[in-house]
């Protein structure tokens, strides 16, 4: 089967499955599970029985799955309990009969699950209003179910699992508490990486946001502003692998290839490898990411600038404010919220990027940052690697908390 065809099929099945799921599950709730009618006590009790039975069978299936798994998956780490539902479906299904067994068990579980809400019906007649209420309590979870399961399987499970792993030694046999963290903080390589990472987190978002704001303002009413913006936005579309190659033509030590050394050469200076300049080489690497991210900041900030009500600016002009005053006193405060959003988004990205350092210097010459430091331990000392990942998480914690508070504030 050609991968292309497989891809088309996946799109069809994926899209069809998603749409079908949402459509049918909503229909199911409204037409069968909690039909908007009043129910007498007898039928409520009947449904309650079905629901209870479903819950019991569900639990039994899960329990059998867990028992089956004990010998196979669990001893590795108890964190696997987190994926018990998935794992037990798989184990039971395989025991029943291969891939089709898995599908069968999964379908059975789904069928049981959709009736389980009946178990929480009261032992009395329910009114139409109560039924509608119940439907509305469940509905958000229907909408959220696919996303939540994907998120917990692909992000939450590894995070928790990794934290647990970071408490064990390199082979994963011995529990050593925070031993990995204490040895790590004593390592000079880690200290360099941590320091560099702080530099990255401070400089790149600041640089990209500042330049983005500058370009956004400068090109605002320029005739050829859109062309300029497109060009500055373009690096966003370039992969880190491509970007690294591009910048090798700037930073190369050979004055016939690297632009910087060519310029130095024309002034008669000896060639010098910018990526080996202690401390400053970090900034040369950071500039690559600034180069990529400025476009992103520019686009959002330029849109925000245009969203500023004209009246405020006109009022300022009438009051005799000069352009710089208008910009700093009127415009910037009004788009402060957007600036902060851009800033945090880029901060988050900075903490994930390891490709640039990896391809440009391989972490040598004192340019190591935490993600690349982590890569050098990954698969060798997973305990240390996961500990590094947690330090990264801790660095972003303030950003995360700020984001969460912001989101909460908006909800109110």
């Amino acid at each position: 089967m050609s991968p292309l065809f497989q891809g088309m099929l996946t799109i069809l099945i994926g899209v069809g499955g998603c749409v079908g799921y949402f459509l049918l599950s909503n229909l199911f709730i409204d037409k069968i599970l909690f039909r908007p009618v009043a129910l007498d006590e007898a039928s409520v009790l009947k449904r309650r029985k079905i629901g209870l039975a479903a819950v019991v069978i569900l639990l039994v299936v899960l329990a059998t799955g867990v028992v089956f798994m004990l010998g196979d998956i669990l001893p590795q780490s108890f964190v696997n309990i987190l994926i018990t539902p998935v794992a037990s479906i798989v184990v039971l299904g395989q025991w029943l009969g291969g891939a089709w067994g898995v599908v069968l068990v999964a379908l059975l579980m789904a069928a049981l699950m959709i009736f389980s809400p009946w178990a929480w019906l009261p032992k009395r007649a329910v009114t139409l209003g109560e039924n509608i209420n119940r439907a509305n309590i469940i509905r958000p979870w229907l909408f959220l179910f696919p996303a939540l399961s994907a998120l917990s399987l692909y992000l939450l499970y590894p995070v928790v699992g990794s934290f647990y792993r970071s408490l064990f030694n390199r082979s994963g046999d011995d529990f050593i508490g925070f031993g990995n963290y204490s040895t790590m903080f004593a390592d000079t390589g880690f200290q360099t990486a941590l320091l560099n990472n702080f530099l990255w987190v401070l400089v790149v978002p600041a640089g990209a946001t500042f330049l983005g704001l500058l370009v956004a303002q400068l090109t605002d009413r320029l005739v050829w502003g859109n062309i300029a913006k497109s060009i500055i936005f373009m690096p966003m579309a370039i992969s880190f692998v491509g970007a690294s190659l591009i910048w090798k033509f700037v930073y190369a030590n050979n004055p016939d290839i690297g632009l910087i050394n060519a310029i130095r050469d024309s002034f008669g200076a000896a060639p010098l490898d910018p990526l080996q300049l202690p401390f400053w080489n970090n900034f040369f690497l950071m500039f690559i990411l600034v180069w990529i991210q400025t476009g992103f900041a520019m686009v959002i900030l330029s849109a925000a600038l245009r969203g500023i009500p004209e009246e405020t600016i006109e009022a300022a002009i009438i009051d005799g404010a000069n352009p710089f005053q208008i910009f700093f006193k009127i415009k910037v405060p009004q788009i402060m919220g957007t600036i902060v959003v851009v800033w945090t988004t880029i901060t988050i990205l900075v903490l994930k990027v390891f490709d640039i350092v990896y391809t440009m210097t391989g972490g040598n010459f004192g340019t190591e940052i935490l993600p690349s430091y982590m890569m050098s331990y990954m698969f060798r000392d997973d305990g240390r690697a996961t500990a590094v990942a947690f330090v990264i998480m801790i660095i972003v914690l303030p950003v995360m908390i700020w984001n969460i508070r912001q989101a909460r504030a908006e909800m109110k």
Binding site: Q94, N254, D273, Q276, G362, D381
Partner: protein, 451 residues
């Protein structure tokens, strides 16, 4: 687990759309200097039609083409479908796939250190019984190759896991004969002469050496070869073995002295093309180009036997470029030590076809088929030397045979974290100005952390 085996087999079967199915055999099926008899007997005795075999390794590009030509003969003999995939980041990829249970059948490790790591985690399958005896009897210096392929398994018991296929001689210095003639330079026979020659070239206004340590994520490894060669030339082979096993600490004065011997070349701005700063950033694949520049950017380049693959197109061995043995000190009485390395096959996912492939590797022809394509040396004693592609390969083979001491590349034998990690980055730090003693101590600290 069963299900995953089935499905991964099915996926492999689907994806490996018979890379060699109608593979034509690059060197015919008879004639030449090849050892056909044992091959035909093997083909007669083995039938694996319908089976598939996946192999992965670090050979890419040109080397990949060569090894695929060899594998085509395995396919022709057995009917098994062979798929080879090469990756520049083999070291990472194989660990990921083996850990997660999706490893190919065989892996060609460029690093015994990594293979030993994986064996101790139970990710490799021991070779069939009797392989060790066979290698001991049929390889030149057989026992050393058995030792190099034997690692402790998960329970600590020694088992034979690795079958060596392609050997590199590392103690070679490449030069352009014409440039040497013109300068009136002679091939140095001793380290003292080499150092004198180096100074002579500087005096004549030239730059003696091209050194490049760049290699992407593996930047620094060429320096480890230098240090190892210097170890063999300044201390006894026993010290070398103790160093590899970390019985002699990395920050032992002897090791630091060897590092500084290397630094005497690499950290001298007058000795290296582009100055000492260029050493760390020049790609090892680019660095020999200086030999061929007009006027020459350098006169000598110390690198293993594989490097001609990266010479400019049309370079003729013996004419445009040649090599000599990286000499030893005359006054140290350590003989003629040779540093080498080699790739080994190990089974990462057992199957009949995988075992049959190891059997195939015992045939002289499996080695001759690559010997004839160039860039290949073997320790297999039964091969027909006439199949070597050129005189220089034969000459390297001679160096291999004549060595008074043969030692395997230490960084390949050290734990991956050192030999493919701390040692590399430590050497980059050293070349860019760090103190040798500090660098050595840093590497030893990392080693201590493993134990």
């Amino acid at each position: 687990m069963k299900l995953s085996l089935y499905t991964s087999a099915a996926i492999i079967a689907l994806s490996s759309s018979s890379a060699f199915a109608d593979g034509h055999l690059a060197f015919g099926s008879e004639g030449g200097d090849f050892s056909w008899d044992s091959y035909n007997a093997f083909a007669e005795a083995t039938d694996l039609s319908g089976q598939s075999l996946t192999i992965t390794g670090a050979w890419t590009g040109n080397e990949k083409e060569k090894v695929e030509k060899v594998m085509a003969y395995f396919n022709a003999a057995t009917g098994a479908d062979v798929t080879y995939s090469g990756s520049d980041s083999f070291e990472q990829d194989i660990v990921v796939s083996a850990r997660s249970g999706s490893a190919p059948n065989l892996a060609a490790f460029p690093q015994p250190g990594l293979a030993a790591d994986m064996a101790s985690q139970g990710l490799l399958t021991p070779l069939a019984d009797g392989t060790a005896d066979w290698v001991a009897n049929n390889f030149a210096a057989g026992q050393s190759w058995v030792d190099l392929g034997t690692y402790a398994d998960k329970d600590g018991a020694d088992q034979m896991y690795g079958f060596f296929y392609r050997v590199d001689v590392k103690s070679l210095v490449w030069y352009a004969p014409e440039a040497f003639d013109e300068g009136g330079y002679d091939i140095p026979e001793t380290m003292e002469e080499l150092k004198a020659l180096t100074d002579q070239i500087v005096e004549d206004g030239g730059t003696p050496w091209c050194i490049g340590l760049g290699s992407g994520a593996a930047t620094g490894w060429p320096a480890t070869d230098w240090v190892e060669d210097m170890m063999l030339r300044t201390t006894s082979p026993e010290d070398y073995d103790a160093w590899v096993a970390n019985e002699m600490k990395f920050d032992d004065p002897k090791v630091i002295a060897a590092i500084e011997e290397f630094g005497a070349f690499a950290r001298n701005d007058a000795y290296v093309d582009g100055g000492a700063a260029a050493v760390a950033s020049t790609d090892f694949r680019d660095s020999p180009a200086g030999l061929f520049a007009i006027p020459p950017k350098c006169y000598m380049h110390r690198q293993a036997s594989f490097i001609p693959a990266f010479f400019p197109e049309g370079t003729e061995m013996g004419e445009d470029v040649d090599f000599f043995y990286f000499p030893a000190y005359a006054d140290k009485d350590l003989g003629k030590p040779v540093l080498g390395a080699g790739a080994l096959f190990a089974i990462t996912n057992p199957s009949d076809a995988a075992n049959a492939f190891i059997e195939f590797m015992k045939l002289p022809i499996a080695h001759e088929l690559w010997m004839t394509q160039g860039g290949f040396l073997t320790a297999h004693a039964g091969v027909n030397l006439a199949t070597y592609a050129d005189d220089s390969s034969r000459a390297q083979g001679e160096i291999l045979q004549n060595a008074t001491t043969f030692r395997f590349d230490a960084s390949d034998l050290m734990p991956g974290e050192i030999g493919a990690g701390a040692f590399w980055t430590g050497m980059v730090d050293y070349v860019t100005g760090a103190d040798a003693a500090d660098v050595a101590k840093g590497i030893q600290d990392r080693w201590d952390a493993i134990q």
